[in-house]
């Protein structure tokens, strides 16, 4: 079990060393321009920006993220069910199918409610 984790940690370090190394290299080797204020302003495609850079952005992303979490947990519960279903399909196939069917149906009801209530509308 450890001999699977050590190569992953090693690769994690290799990627970080590669990334930081390349960024440091390009920072040093990069062309040095004298600081001028206009270039430092956030890119507004020519139009001078009026308010602060991070004005308030509408909050409708919240619902997508919440429904993602809840359906992600459903997906995560499906994975162990896969193993059990493919192994015990002969003796307990009906029971497993029924239990997961109920679980998925309850969540499908949640999805239908969400679609019908227009929570996912991107007006």
């Amino acid at each position: 079990m450890l001999d699977q984790l050590l190569p992953v940690i090693f690769l994690f370090c290799v990627v970080i060393v590669f990334g930081v190394g390349m960024i440091a290299l390009t920072q040093l080797a990069g062309f040095k321009a004298k600081k001028n204020l206009v270039k430092m302003m956030p890119y507004e495609s020519g139009v001078p920006g009026q308010e602060a850079a991070t004005t308030k952005v509408s909050v409708k992303f919240y619902l997508t993220a919440v429904s993602f979490i809840l359906f992600d947990i459903e997906v995560v519960f499906l994975y162990p069910w896969l193993l059990v279903y493919s192994d015990y399909i002969k003796p307990h196939g009906a029971f497993l199918l029924g239990s997961m069917g109920l679980f998925v149906l309850v969540l499908v009801y949640g999805l239908i409610y969400e679609i019908k209530s227009g929570a996912l509308e991107w007006d």
């Binding site: 994690f12 990627v15 990334g19 960024i23 991070t54 997508t64 997906v75 493919s86 002969k90 991107w122």
Partner: protein, 384 residues
């Protein structure tokens, strides 16, 4: 990781080489994309630098290193520099778990006065027991690269682009997770190597107690789960922000989305992350549905005996058979990557609400239905 220094060294070197192979694939894919798009749009594409424009890759790499590294005004400097590296990590970690070819047996040999025992090396980064679950877990960290880049460059457009890109990425991650439920149910394991072993031989399955064998079709996953394969492939487009799902980076509306303020090598690292996700997606489709490194007609032993006649049985023969199977994996990967590029230059871009509707209102129900039908059919196939 191994009994002695040689095996540990080879295992670690293998992981690093596969990561560098993925990094090296990026300029190649960029070149393929530019030539491919030129071919589709009936123009020539880069051909000045070197034969067929192949040295264009080198020229691009050198140019990216010496470009001015610009950091916008009130950007969060540390996060701004950290974002490209964070965008690179998930794709690299995920690609190591994909099996590239058959394991290689190395006989005992003499070196530096010591006799090193026989080894078997896996022809992949690391053989994970919970293969596909590890890959899904690591690739779910992909949203952080975008969010950091959008937030750190303190620019309205890039913040909006980052939020949209990560909202799109997490919605299609659901589709990704659910679309493989069908095929995992049939294989009944998470280990990718075991899945490939199950895809050997002609197509044979049992239904309602009686066996059927179709000799001319290979036993690949795509014949069991055609819809699942299509859904998984579509979700991979969205995961790697490829067209027609790359609206957050669309030039028209959001200037360049979350990497507006980036340039030079940092921009290239975002591309590496994107192409890395593409390669992981293509590798997974090959492993699940196209039989990984298997060649339909040949089995491992026939190829080994064929090679052994010229080279003589031993480490070299094992290495060559592994290479043969690796070439078959690369051919399938290249085919799928070409489809990625081909789709990019033919299909128009989605509008954002149709994109999200597709993700939530069509893909999610379809993948759930696919999983449900597979479960019921499997119950009749194996349960009775």
């Amino acid at each position: 990781m191994g009994k002695d220094i040689f095996e540990v060294g080879i295992n670690l070197a293998k992981v690093a080489v596969i990561f560098l192979m993925m990094i090296q694939a990026v300029p190649l894919l960029v070149w393929l994309e530019r030539r491919g798009s030129a071919f589709i749009q009936n123009r020539l594409g880069p051909n000045r630098v070197g034969p067929l424009g192949l040295l264009q890759l080198l020229a691009d790499a050198v140019k990216f290193i010496f470009k001015e590294q610009f950091i916008p005004g009130n950007a969060a400097k540390f996060l701004f520099l950290a974002a490209p590296v964070v965008a690179l990590i998930p794709a690299a970690l995920a690609f190591t778990a994909i099996p590239l070819s058959i394991p290689i047996q190395v006989e005992a040999f003499e070196m530096l006065g010591k006799s090193w025992g026989p080894y078997t090396f896996q022809f992949q980064g690391v053989k994970m027991d919970s293969g596909i679950i590890y890959i899904l877990a690591v690739s779910s960290l992909g949203a952080y690269g975008l969010l950091l880049a959008g937030w750190a460059s303190a620019n309205k457009y890039s913040l909006m682009g980052a939020l949209r890109a990560s909202a799109q990425m997490i919605s299609y991650e659901l589709g990704l997770g659910l679309s493989i439920v069908g095929i995992l149910m049939i294989y009944g394991t998470f280990d990718l190597n075991a899945m490939i072993d199950m895809q050997k031989g002609p197509l044979q399955f049992s239904f309602l107690g009686s066996e059927y064998v179709i000799p001319f079709l290979p036993n690949w996953g795509i014949f069991y789960q055609p819809l699942g394969a299509l859904l998984f492939f579509i979700c991979n487009f969205a995961e790697s922000n490829r067209l027609p799902f790359d609206l957050p980076e669309s030039e028209g509306e959001l200037v360049a989305g979350f990497h507006t303020e980036y340039g030079g090598f940092k921009m290239l690292m975002f591309f590496m992350g994107e192409y890395g996700h593409m390669m992981v997606g293509a590798g997974l489709v090959t492993t699940f549905y196209l039989g990984g490194y298997l060649i339909p007609g040949l089995t491992e032993d026939t190829v080994r005996t064929l090679i052994a006649t010229e080279v003589g049985a031993g480490t070299v023969a094992n290495l060559l058979t592994a290479l043969v199977f690796h070439v078959s994996f690369i051919v399938k990967l290249a085919l799928l990557l070409w489809i990625f590029i081909w789709v990019r230059w033919t299909l128009p871009r989605f509008r954002y609400d149709t994109l999200m509707n597709l993700g939530w209102k069509t893909l999610l129900p379809w993948t759930l239905a696919n999983a449900a039908i597979t479960a019921i059919v499997l119950y009749f196939a194996r349960g009775i």
